[in-house]
């Protein structure tokens, strides 16, 4: 169904969003994927926080990633607390309790379930309805990426297909 960026565009008036960048899933010095080479997404596993921040900045700049962003520190505290690696989705309610726990990515990473949860609470939003106008206004600007979406996080390219 939609990816997380599309969901953000559709529901940002109803819910808050936070992306948490965790340790790399397919760095060059571990299990590199061909698709990452093809899309020139080649990074070694960061050994320092500065390296991790640099990759996060590359990511947000390359894809003009619109979601609020935080970075897990080198102790991997967020990953450890949420069993988040390589990718995972949660929804926390206003009282600080988990109301949705997504499955472990990539096989059970299902943004559609987040959309379903939000739709049940706030009503269905037609995918892309709120971004259509924004896309039209960006039509004269160069595309932000031609990537097929090799990132662990869902990037705009996927949502705009």
């Amino acid at each position: 169904m939609g990816d997380i960026v599309q969901i953000y565009n559709d529901y940002k008036d109803h819910a808050d969003f936070l992306t948490v960048y965790v340790r790399e899933a397919h760095p060059t010095d571990e299990w590199q994927m061909k698709s990452n080479v093809k899309d020139d997404v080649c990074y070694a596993q960061p050994k320092t926080l500065e390296q991790r921040v640099a990759i996060a900045k590359d990511f947000t700049a390359r894809y003009k990633f619109p979601l609020p962003f935080g970075i897990d520190d080198m102790s991997n505290a967020a990953d450890n607390a949420y069993a988040a690696w390589p990718e995972r989705l949660y929804i926390i309610d206003e009282t600080g309790h988990i109301v949705y726990r997504g499955g472990l990515g990539p096989f059970h990473y299902k943004p559609a379930e987040v959309r379903q949860w939000l739709a049940a609470k706030y009503g269905a939003v037609k995918q892309g309805a709120q971004t259509a106008a924004a896309s039209a206004s960006r039509a004269s600007a160069p595309a932000s990426t031609s990537s097929e979406g090799t990132t662990s996080l869902s990037v705009p390219a996927k949502s705009e297909k």
Binding site: I4, I7, Y8, Y11, A15, D16, F17, L18, T19, V20, Y21, V22, R23, A25, P27, E30, W31, N36, V41, C42, Y43, R52, V53, A56, K57, D58, T60, L67, P68, F69, G70, I71, D72, D73, A78, A81, Y82, A83, A84, W85, P86, E87, R88, L89, Y90, I91, I92, D93, E94, G96, H97, R101, L104, V114, L118, K121, T151, S152, L153, S154
Partner: protein
């Protein structure tokens, strides 16, 4: 007895081969199957959090690399969608 051991070894070999085949299919290639076993599986955890659990509060680094903030600071009067992931 030797014959039984041979049968056991044969069945074990077939099962291992089948498991490797399934891994290759899931990962895409033998090299990727190795990558999955060597680098992915050791880090993948189901975790203990459940729906209804208190959301752990964790300090994160802001994109500027300097500021720090806690996940709970982002909790307001609306649900908070947390999306974990990486670039690669």
């Amino acid at each position: 007895m030797k014959r039984l051991l041979k049968w056991f070894a044969g069945i074990l070999a077939v099962l291992l081969l089948a498991a490797f085949g399934v891994l290759c299919y899931m990962a895409g290639s033998p090299k990727d199957a190795y990558g999955m076993v060597r680098y992915a599986l050791p880090h993948m955890r189901r975790g203990t959090l459940q729906v209804g659990s208190d959301a752990p509060d964790v300090r994160l680094v802001a994109l500027d690399g300097i500021d720090r903030f806690h996940i709970r600071e982002r909790l307001g009067r609306r649900p908070l969608v947390l999306a974990f992931g990486s670039f690669t």
